[in-house]
């Protein structure tokens, strides 16, 4: 995880300064466009971070992330609207449901191969969309559930927080994103993260060192599904409507591009590319079609000439630097 550009201390300072600035944005501007961009960044940072955990670290190409996102969203919306649950409980239940589905999808396909995993996750996401559209008695079909309630959080001591301004959602989703990123960072820099990378690089070798690949892979998938579902559960109240388009393949494509461009398996790279890819196309005022054409070209180019992404480029430079250092200046070791 060492970045060749800066020391750990500098990075920690930079992270703190960045966070303070991000959270201070609503005090400087009430501009709804700026806040909407921030919400979009927070959401996609969690989506791409979750995918990075599964694809970048565990080496499993998952198309199911959008399914987890939508399942969290639908579960939260239905529990709050039909069963009068509080918003936080609905979102948490959605996250748990998404995690259980992640466990099921992972367990059924990972015993076969990572190829099966890719294809089963794809079918899972498509099935989610079909069910949400056609199981009308539960999900209300293609029209979705409009006009979701304004979330309100009650705290012990009579305090409550009603999210009726754009800035409130900005704080909520950004806070959630920071928490998720912290969890992802803690996991990938721990022994678990190293075990995942070892399994990805050489599964038989990792197994011979006493690592149970299936258990680590399932853990990564489940954790990622939980966070993605949680984000979906809260994000849906920002949208105020949930319909089958929450399962749109567009989300999958966007988070894939973020992970690939940032560098699969690079925490900071993916975070950086999530920010760039949320802000840039929006500022350039591309239509969605043109943006997806551009993303497609980026994906093709990345696969042909730049498979490691931004993070991979830094990683290569770091390894080159290591290689150059000692040996008494006498060529090959």
């Amino acid at each position: 995880m060492n970045n060749p550009l800066m020391s750990g201390r500098m990075r920690a300072t930079l992270v703190v300064v960045g966070l303070v600035l991000l959270f201070a944005v609503p005090s400087f501007t009430r501009n709804e466009y700026v806040l909407a961009l921030g919400v979009s960044f927070a959401t996609f940072a969690v989506l791409s971070g979750g995918l990075n955990l599964v694809y970048g670290y565990a080496g499993l190409l998952s198309f199911a992330q959008v399914g987890f996102f939508g399942v969290g969203a639908y579960a939260a919306a239905l529990l709050v609207t039909d069963a009068n649950w509080p918003v936080w409980a609905g979102a948490l239940a959605g996250a748990v449901l998404a995690a259980l589905m992640g466990l099921g999808v992972g367990y059924s396909s990972l015993r076969l191969s990572r190829h099966a995993f890719a294809i089963v996750t794809l079918s899972f996401a498509l099935l989610c969309m079909i069910v949400s559209r056609d199981w009308v008695s539960l999900t209300r079909g293609a029209m979705g559930i409009p006009g979701l309630a304004v979330p309100q959080f009650s705290f012990p001591g009579g305090l409550s927080w009603r999210l009726n301004k754009p800035a409130d959602f900005y704080y909520l989703l950004l806070g959630l994103a920071v928490a998720c990123q912290a969890v992802i960072y803690a996991v990938v820099t721990s022994r678990i993260g190293r075990a995942l990378k070892a399994v990805k690089m050489n599964e038989p070798l990792a197994q011979s060192q006493g690592i149970n690949p299936l258990r680590y892979k399932l853990m990564a998938v489940t954790l990622s599904a939980f966070m993605t579902g949680l984000m979906g559960g809260f994000f849906v109240f920002y949208l105020t409507i949930v319909d089958p388009s929450i399962f749109d393949f567009y989300y999958t494509e966007t988070m894939l591009i973020m992970v690939i461009l940032g560098g699969a398996g690079s925490f900071w790279g993916v975070l950086f590319s999530s920010a760039i890819l949320t802000l840039l196309p929006d500022m350039l005022r591309f239509t969605t079609d043109l943006r997806m054409v551009l993303y497609g070209f980026i994906l093709i180019l990345a696969m042909l000439v730049f498979p490691g992404g931004i993070g991979g480029w830094f990683e290569r430079r770091r390894i080159e630097r290591w290689r150059k250092v000692p040996y008494g200046g006498r060529g090959t070791p």
């Binding site: 990572r114 294809i119 056609d134 393949f249 079609d289 497609g296 093709i300 696969m303 042909l304």
Partner: protein, 291 residues
Amino acid sequence: MDISFLIQLLLNGLVIGVIYALIAMGLSLIFGVLEIVNFAHGEFYMLGAVAAYFLTTNLSIGYWPTIALVTVGAAAVGYILYELLLSSLRGEGFERSILLTLGLSMVLQNGAVFLFTTTPKMMLSPLTYSNVIMGDVRMPVLRLFALGLGIAAFIALYLILYRTQVGKAMRGVSQNREAAMMVGIDPRAVSRLAVAIGIGLSGLAGAALAPIYAVHPLMGFSFVFKAFAIIIIGGLGNVSGAAIAAIALGVLESLIGGFLPTVMVDGLAFTAMILILLIRPQGLFGRGVRV
């Protein structure tokens, strides 16, 4: 139950099944020979339909010349596609091939939306409203043509694979790449041909279906995922398995659609696939040792 209704459903299912088969066989052939899952496969089906629409509507070319032109054009596109993009993937990871072809699919699909808009277009031909009537069963002529084209393509592919030298080479590469190279087969030439045939079949499917269903840029997208399910059910890389699974799926969907809610129709392929993966992961007809 009404027998003619049942026959009608069976016939309709057969037509759809044959079109599924054209797409799934190409996908399976490409997977067998190159070990690449082509996410962009459905887009070539869409482009075939769009090309057929423009050829007949704007250039007033007849039905049969259009079909021939689109098929040959698609095969040429497949040839170029292999040389430009896929050849660099040889021996590379499964995920990389998926992501590369997914990028291609995004470019083609959204490019088509940008140029063509998502408004569905109907391709009209002098035969659009002609039917063949047998008792109570009515069959539009164009559906029969599509059925005939699909069967002809299936026979042609079978003859290429089992009666020609190059077909033998293709089966050899998909069984054992190293051994095939050892006996002097050039995997590059074989792969190029496999991609050209696969994309050609996809273009043919698009052209054959264009006069039956509406033509629009998102039509390939839902199709290709069903085709994935089909090739898993039939056994990855197994071309005849894919064909059988495709026709079975088309007929089953049509029968279910006649009696049960639509959610069962669209969910059928995916549910069947997940079940197959759990119970018999090598697919109903065995893994890609036979093309």
